[in-house]
Symmetry: C2
Subunit: 396 residues, 2 copies
């Protein structure tokens, strides 16, 4: 008998029919003899509805009350899911983040989990109940205020609970079959990966692979929780995210991120100046280098204006350049940047496809290229075709 934590996102519980489908899946796991804790997000559009209501009432920020409002969302989905599971003859109870002992700091809207005291979860597991826990929410340890965990919060709840319970797996359900060598919506021949390390997954997620949030990968690594990214549509195995096993370095996949902007300085200054200016302004920039038009960096598009301001405010002169129409394509794998042949070949492949590379940067686990946004999908496809070709012809 194993202890299994299952996490279902808002789409998986988007309506009554889907809630009943999730209930069947949970019941099957329980009836197979496992102890099951389910972490659930708010139903599909609930959060948007609440945000809309709050905007109708107030134009201002009220972080404490916004958390109170938003946490009604998981309350709805978890109660409905508990009903659907009980209808299948399996005992189930829902618990709020507070009841489940998810203790956080006091930062409303993006709290961090500080401790888990899930006594009530354990009591119910001991009785044989399936326990449904509200994702995304907790209660501050110091003043008992309701908090939310921000983006990816339900994943964080799942990983924290799995760690506390010493769970055999933290299953993250999604609408794809697992982690692929590229986004299968763009690259139909992309292959599902059976297992990746935390490092590899973190790099893929950070470079744009949306299947799992960087934050949950980081928490999984920190707390030693085996993650299993799998489909909510069938019972096949997905992708396990676990500590690295011994073996030669390998390429993992092509990640891409369409929501990037390139900011830089024309010609006369070097990449370190750009990196320092952005760092000082707390703007994330993990792809910094010297490219076609000077030193530059990729930043999230919604932070482009802030990035331009940060560069303009630096000591020294030189025109700040901005290109909001760029995407980032990344070849992820251990030691990728240390292989001159790989770096050169990536450049040749994009060049041969007529895709201009605006900037290239490498980290120990990743080689990223900025390309015009309209060429991003094609860049993903041609790089995948070369580095992940099926059969013995592939570079892998």
């Amino acid at each position: 008998m194993a202890v299994i934590v299952q996490k279902y996102g808002g789409t998986s519980v988007g309506d009554a029919e889907r809630i009943r489908a999730v209930a069947r899946r949970v019941a099957v796991t329980r009836l197979a003899g496992h102890e099951v804790v389910v972490i659930v997000s708010a139903m599909g559009h609930t959060t948007d509805h609440f945000l809309d209501l709050s905007r109708q009432v107030s134009p201002n920020d009220h972080p404490r009350e916004m958390d109170m409002l938003l946490t009604a969302g998981e309350r709805i989905s978890m109660a409905l899911l508990a009903m659907a599971i009980r209808d299948l003859g399996v005992e189930a109870v829902s618990l709020t983040g507070s009841q489940a002992g998810i203790l956080t700091n006091t930062v409303h809207g993006r709290a961090e989990i500080e401790e888990v005291r899930a006594f009530r979860v354990k009591e119910h597991l001991d009785r044989g109940d399936v326990v449904i826990v509200a994702g995304f929410q907790g209660v501050s340890a110091v003043n008992k205020e309701i908090t939310t965990l921000g983006r990816g919060g339900s994943d964080a709840t799942a990983v924290a609970m799995a760690s506390y319970l010493g769970a055999d797996a933290c299953e993250v359900y999604t609408d794809v079959d697992g982690v692929f060598t590229a986004d299968p919506r763009l690259v139909p021949e992309a292959r599902k990966l059976d297992e990746v390390s935390y490092d590899e997954m973190a790099e893929m997620a950070g470079a744009g692979a949306a299947v799992l949030m960087s934050r949950s990968v980081e928490l999984g690594r920190r707390w030693g929780v085996p993650l299993h990214v799998r489909s909510s549509f069938h019972h096949g195995e997905g992708t396990w995210v676990r500590p690295a096993t011994a073996g030669p370095p390998r390429l993992i996949g092509i990640a891409h991120d369409p929501d990037q902007a390139l900011v830089g300085l024309a010609a006369e200054e070097d990449a370190a100046v750009v990196a320092e200016a952005l760092l000082a302004a707390a703007i994330p920039a993990d792809t910094v280098g010297v490219g076609r038009d000077g030193a530059g960096a990729a930043v999230p598009r919604d932070q482009a204006a802030a990035a331009v301001a940060a560069l303009a405010a630096r000591p020294g002169s030189g025109e700040v350049v901005l290109n909001e129409g760029v995407g980032k394509v990344s070849l992820v794998g251990a030691g990728v940047a240390d292989r001159p042949d790989t770096v050169a070949r990536a450049g040749e492949v994009l060049d041969a496809a007529g895709i201009p590379v605006l900037l290239t940067a490498a980290t120990p686990l990743r080689l990223s290229s900025l390309v015009p946004a309209e060429s991003l999908d094609e860049a993903v496809r041609v790089l995948h075709g070369v580095f992940f070709a099926p059969g013995p012809g592939g570079a892998r």
Copy 2:
């Protein structure tokens, strides 16, 4: 400086505009120097929406999870109201029933408040905050399960909180100006009552006056809380419900209840048999007597079938009669049944208007007549015209 508890129902917070209107009212009270606790129900149609969702998911009863689901409703309205109040420059926080220390028994769906431990409410009041408390909900003292208080639950929360705080008033906001000598929608010349006793109000409410629930009047009496029923549309005084003051007995008003059925036994048995059979089946019947067609009782229409079954199951014979098309009109006032002239006059007035009286019954505070449902409104008007005529000509 007074301590004021204000209770707003679901209609008062039905949309963003109304929430802002309530916020202005609360802010005015706070800025006048009072300590203010606001009890709020779920927004207008929220509860119906949740009930609909739960029916889509499950055909069965899940009382614990239904309470978890429904309590999301007040969470939404209270957070939005807190935002709207804060926008006016008045500090406000919302607290769930659990956070506000509303401790109940364990009966999901219709829990009773056992104790109030509103430490957090007091702390916030001491800081100058307006405190918004979710009505209708609490937490069970023995096992920390979320409960709901059933019909009239928000009023119960308000009265309990007012008692705990020793509030100067528990203000119950409504869409009418207070308690009237008759429903002003039926009787335009009905007069607002400035003050009634708990006993008088309980009798009016029990006989159908919908402005205040019997349960909240009963709690007000038990805990000695002065209730102030008033309009949410203006700042005029409404009706105070307080302990009786010395003075001659008086008539209070005409209450009516359209949702009644008359069940009875044809001719040969007496009213006591009817009363006992209904009592044994736990069917409320506060109007029992011998009428035109034999011994009978008025019961809530939705319990008519159960009442017929209870009478049919009694020892003895005799046909059970049922008339589902009746309404109850009640003349409320101390000693009303002890005045033969009043009883006689009521009968004459209805007779003169051509309204058949199917059954009459009296209690120390009330004289009730069952009439055909289609004649109920007219019965209210003619009785009010005689017993509450304006000016010195009135019986009062």
